[in-house]
Symmetry: C2
Subunit: 251 residues, 2 copies
Amino acid sequence: MITISIIGSGKLSYNLSEAFISNKELRLNEIYSRNNKNIKLFNKKIKFTNKIDSLSEADFYFILTNDDSIEEISKKIKTKNGMILHSSGTKGKDALSNHLNFGVFYPLQTFSFNKKIDFTKTPILIEGNSQKSLEKLKELCRILEAEFEEVDSKKRLHYHLAASFANNFTNHILSLTDELVNKFKLEKKFFIPIANETFKKFQSNKSKESQTGPAVRNDVKTLKKHEEILKKSNYLNLYKIITKSIKKNDL
Amino acid sequence: MITISIIGSGKLSYNLSEAFISNKELRLNEIYSRNNKNIKLFNKKIKFTNKIDSLSEADFYFILTNDDSIEEISKKIKTKNGMILHSSGTKGKDALSNHLNFGVFYPLQTFSFNKKIDFTKTPILIEGNSQKSLEKLKELCRILEAEFEEVDSKKRLHYHLAASFANNFTNHILSLTDELVNKFKLEKKFFIPIANETFKKFQSNKSKESQTGPAVRNDVKTLKKHEEILKKSNYLNLYKIITKSIKKNDL
């Protein structure tokens, strides 16, 4: 039985804890939470602690806090052979180098409390401080039935940047769509097929060749009509910059 | 049997022609193409013509050309009782007012030659010059088994603007993701789950509350790392503006 402790009680902690407790080969010892903020959202079976210096011995310690506290927290954890992991897309593994065994477990996904992520469908980018650490991490990924790849810190940052486009930026654009839907009292359901089609084009590597709309056609009249509607909003500048970028991309 | 002629041989023409010829209640008389540009991509059974002033009498004439030529083409079509339609998201119906029966058939979808769109899953925004025209259009939508809604020109423009966000802009961001994937030799398949999740959040109206990433956290260190990578690309300005917009949106 592989034992795990988690430090932090955010969205990733919630989603990983669900994956760990539902897996027969894993045991989640405890979760350290400094402020008990979200713990009512977690499964009732999970043991929480606010004493970081007396965590019970575990095979893995997941530091799932913000990037800036990873190093400090790593120093507080006492373990002989346990492997310390962080899950940051941008932080080097050496923030954990006060330990014998350490590495990175970075899931390429966006997490929330309102929806459980299926880790069997989540790519995990991993890094270990030694071959032994790496093998331990691979074994954990296999137990989670997750797809994984060994990736160094530089490449992980490139993945993180591209994921910011694929998720953070598209999500923002879609939430602006929702704002327009609300503002103009449009039917939200009418936008599901076109958004779905956009995603399917990405999936089949056809995004670039599938660009449609007034920007790529340089349809100045329509662009002006859109800008006229947006001129009193916060989004006129965003509209213009993305339009300009689409035009450039087409050249 | 309802008869239809199409003017124009672009992406929408291709997709509508496929829907028309596969529907037993409809007959596609002919397609007018000025330059025969894409006609080899169309079904071989379809009759093409380059004489716009001698189209055979039809129940519906679909003008599927660019917005600027709609009015001119409308004037060239000779019909007694046929209904003239355009499919522009931004053009008023009055561009067709030289006819007795006219209206707008605007499908809220993005079209391409490489993938047939299922019109039973495509919302159609319709407008007619009279109650009689509107009823004819509704009947056509029912035959296509499409969801439809009567929407005036102003509201149609609002739909078109929101669709530019939901498709044109997100598609561009996703094609930039592909550029980063190529540039840094990343695994494209690793981005499918996160893009799919982003789409599912939109579908369940959770985009705004699901915003994650360095911009919404105001994680200055990570934003700097990303900007450093992008500084020699065309996309630094776009990155900064979207980041700024995400920050604002969160306030």
